[in-house]
Amino acid sequence: MTFSVSSADNDPGVPVLQVEDLRKSYGEIQAVRGVSFEIAAGENYGLLGPNGAGKTTTIQMIAGVLAAAGGRVTVCGQELTTSTTSVKSHMGWVPQEIALYDRLSARENLAFFGRMQGLSGRALAKRVDEVLGLTALGDRADEKTVKFSGGMRRRLNIGIGLLHQPDLLILDEPTVGVDIQSRAGILDQVAEMTRQGMAVLYTTHYIEEVERLCHRVGIIDHGQLIAEGTRAELVKTVGERTRVLISADGNLSEGADRLSELDGVHQAGITKEGIDLLVDDATPLLPRVLETLTGSGVAVGGVRVEEPDLEAVFLHLTGRALRD
């Protein structure tokens, strides 16, 4: 399978996507507050943040389905405005929800969206067959999608975004609600696309997906890009600190407050499972941690120690766990 090489490849100086000071408000709420980043050809850029951080709003403005209140989006050197539609042919947007016609077959769905992208005739038929093969739906191509499993529908949802061989593929939480096998397949596909030269903007709140796929990561919280860089660069911001994940019940708030006062503890945040800590050295600290929690009326179910990762970076930057 081959993908078109972005126009930016012809001019290495021009990134495929440039986002500058992007802004959006809903009434009093500032959903996106001055987000800026760039993506080069063949690069996979992960936009990481918790639910409600502003990822989807940012992506919808970049995809041209939502008008920005301020800022600028440039794709392959062409500025995206509400009145121009031609620049959209450089992009393929895969929304978070599965946007398919239930009563149409996989082939009919692909053909329809291909025509919306301006494809027709033999070129369209060829691309439909290629994408059906890529998404492993060739043998069910003429079945209505209402009969498909969640994983098949999700694969077709992504396939539609690839039909016209875009320079930039925008994937908004593409693995939500997908089984492990389909998820692995989707991640392999995305990795292959970037190897072929496609620029990918990937949003998720799954750390492991970002760590596996993305060359660079932007961490977004409360509508702001609070950090950006490669995984290694971001982890460096945490230092050599270790992450301690404590499964616990009880007065977690008081427990976290008292732990944050301990020497060697840099951050203490509450998660669904219990409390996350960022510490200098976990081994000598653990007895005091357990003692403090017991004294705070917190029942500890288990303790896990992890080396620094992007979850730790997020905790370090925001004081909250990513999946709070």
């Binding site: 939502l66 929800e97 398919l100 016609y101 539609i160």
Partner: protein, 388 residues
């Protein structure tokens, strides 16, 4: 091209919904049946019941005379009560009851009472006059023979054949009747008095408005935003939706017209003009439906508003009560409704108008459709700009 592609998919997905089979094919047949029963079948002839003793020569003469009237269809009953019930229920317009031994009674000078029943409203008085005239004409020889018996002392059996033979030579004095001023309904149209057209207009607009739910479902599934993420403008998207809904509404309108004409003989006056009106109304309906669908409403609310708006606009536009019976204020309001312009067009055709006479109605309806579609485009752009 994209407009056609979006419209085609709009139609295809609706056709493939299991419930659409009823909505698309069965429901219009029900409409055809209703229109046919009410306005088709008898070509506008008025039904007159006949009961009592109909085996007599004199009753044969009277019923033959009545049957000669092209506007009448005689319905014979075995029982008087059965006929009375049908008159009461409006199944027939009036009824005549013949007593027994009519000729024998007249021969001996006894009075003969022919019963006539009709509903308090409707064509009763006109039918009574028609029946009276037929009876008078056919009783001329009997009355002449009876005159001979009373004045000349000749026997009834001898005088009747002579009087009967001379009856054809009698010149009756008749009253010439001429109507002046404008009548409520056009002459000669019989039972197709606008009812078929009003049912069609009401139904078509209702279905076009309820089609908005398909658009709401698309938006809820994220299909609208996905299409707009391609090099396809919101205006193009709306034009596709309007094209699809236009196709469905126009097909249903034609389907009802042709089926009611073929099966029930419903008279649609000028067929070309009627088809043009149906086409233009379909465009106006599609525009209105898509405007409704562009609002940020759930599917259930959309269908509720669609049905209510369809009925209210139908009432204001004269699709429930003939426009002529509406107060002046409502008639003015009707000028702002698609149903009003469609009904005025159908009325022109019923009065013998040609395609040229309804061109202005067609133009106004098409203009309404385009304006509503443009409004839908603006409204959908605003709806999509809000967070989901």
């Amino acid at each position: 091209m994209k407009t056609f592609v979006i419209g085609r998919v709009y139609v295809l997905r609706i056709l493939r919904e299991p419930a659409s089979v009823f909505f698309f094919f069965v429901f219009p047949v029900v409409m055809v049946f209703i229109i046919g029963i009410q306005f088709g079948g008898q070509g506008g002839r008025v039904q007159l019941g006949v009961s009592g003793d109909t085996t007599q020569a004199i009753t044969d003469r009277i019923t033959e005379n009545l049957a000669g009237n092209q506007a009448l269809e005689l319905v014979f009953y075995e029982e008087d009560t059965e006929m009375l019930t049908d008159v009461e229920r409006g199944f027939i317009s009036a009824g005549v009851v013949f007593p027994s031994r009519m000729a024998a009674r007249m021969a001996v000078g006894q009075p003969v009472l022919i019963g006539f029943v009709s509903a308090p409203t409707g064509l009763g008085p006109q039918l009574q006059a028609t029946v009276q005239q037929s009876v008078t004409e056919e009783l001329i020889p009997y009355r002449a023979a009876r005159f001979a018996v009373d004045i000349l002392g000749v026997g009834f059996q001898e005088s009747f054949p002579l009087a009967d033979a001379l009856a054809d030579q009698v010149i009756l004095t008749t009253v010439a009747v001429e109507s002046v001023g404008e009548s409520l309904f056009p002459p000669g149209l019989g039972r197709f008095d606008g009812g078929a057209a009003s049912n069609l207009v009401l139904f078509m607009f209702l279905t076009a408005l309820t089609g908005a739910t398909a658009m709401v479902t698309d938006r809820e599934m994220g299909l609208d935003t996905r299409i707009v993420s391609t090099p396809t403008s919101v205006a193009r998207l709306i034009s596709g939706y309007v094209a699809g809904q236009f196709g469905i509404t126009f097909f249903q309108g034609l389907y009802i017209m042709i089926l009611s004409l073929a099966v029930f003989g419903v008279d649609w006056s000028n067929l070309g003009g009627s088809v043009l009106l149906v086409m233009a109304l379909s465009l106006a309906g599609a525009g209105a439906g898509m405007l409704l669908g562009s609002f940020r409403l759930a599917a259930a609310a959309t269908i509720g508003i669609g049905v209510t708006a369809g009925l209210v606009l139908g009432a204001l536009g004269g699709a429930m009560v003939p426009e002529e019976l509406l107060p002046d204020a409502v008639r003015t309001v009707a000028k702002f409704t698609p149903q009003g312009w469609a009904m005025l067009g159908f009325r022109d055709l019923q009065w013998g108008g040609s395609v040229l006479d309804v061109i202005d109605n067609v133009a106004v309806l098409a203009g309404m459709g385009l304006v509503l579609a443009a409004a839908a485009s603006i409204s959908l752009r605003r709806t999509l700009a809000r967070p989901s």
